[in-house]
Amino acid sequence: MDHFTPATALAGGGLIGLAASLLIVTTGRCAGVSGIVDGALRRDSPAWRWAFLGGLVAGGALLRVVAPAMVPGLAGSALGPMGVAVAGVVVGFGARVGGGCTSGHGIIGNSRLSPRSVVATITFMAAGFATVAVLRSLRG
């Protein structure tokens, strides 16, 4: 457990919650990232979705300058570049079919006690644990 970082986990989580709260209290829009990507790719999407995604990228650029270790990139993945792209496809497809991801179900839905979000969160967590366990056994 020497990697356990409770202080930054709580602070970062609180900031994520605040960011999503700022959006929904001001505009009534949900900061579910997979849903925003979906909406942004549709014709005549309102500007706020692209603005939110631009904010995410701008935040990433800022972190790369002030705290580069926080955004190490995905080049170190054991999957290799094509494997990472495939993981992206599976994540995007699954999250949209399931109606949300770690933000939409995990934070926004759970925080209003939406039964669908609770079930989705338990399901994707369990699937994530199982996938890593299978990969671990395959790699010996």
Binding site: W48, M70, S77, F93, I107
Partner: protein, 163 residues
């Protein structure tokens, strides 16, 4: 006064920026950290439970404010909750999402943030967009509840009609 769409976009940009910084501080943009959480069989790192454990109660306050006000600051109704339908889409889609998350240690938010690193970061976002687009073959928006269920909102608080 600026048009609603402009204020909405400016707010969304600021929210996205804060969201990314929160993800970075929390460790969500480091795939090794995420995989350390998902690897129950190894030197398990429970930190990411605390990320959700902090974000959820903060956002619960946002729902409480929305219900008390009867809607967002820019006007409009409180977003309605999906009706509790537990179908193959919800379960299968969420399971697939979890598998993809476990493969790379990257969920959509951190993926978009990592696009700035180029290379594999851009490949992930390209894959994400492709998967999202492909989901339209089988996905459909969930039905919404007729009205917001009572979650402890005072009786004298008006709930905006969800027209």
């Amino acid at each position: 006064m600026a048009e609603r769409a402009t204020v909405e976009a400016a707010t969304a940009f600021g929210a996205g920026l804060l969201f990314a910084i929160g993800l970075g501080i929390a460790g969500m943009t480091d795939p090794a950290k995420v995989l350390g959480f998902l690897d129950l069989g190894g030197d398990w790192d429970p930190s990411l439970l605390l990320v959700m454990g902090a974000a959820v109660p903060v956002h619960a306050v946002a729902w409480w404010i929305l219900r008390r006000r009867g809607g967002p600051l820019l006007g409009g109704p409180v977003p309605r909750r999906p009706a509790p339908v537990f179908d193959a889409r919800l379960l299968g889609g969420s399971a697939l999402f979890g598998i993809g998350w476990g493969l790379a240690g990257v969920c959509p938010g951190p993926g978009v943030v990592s696009a700035v690193t180029g290379g594999s970061g851009l490949l992930y976002v390209g894959g994400l967009a492709l998967g999202v687009a492909a989901s339209r073959l089988v996905a459909k928006p969930p039905a919404l509840e007729e009205r917001e269920p009572d979650l402890g909102v005072p009786a004298d608080t008006a709930i905006a009609p969800s027209a």
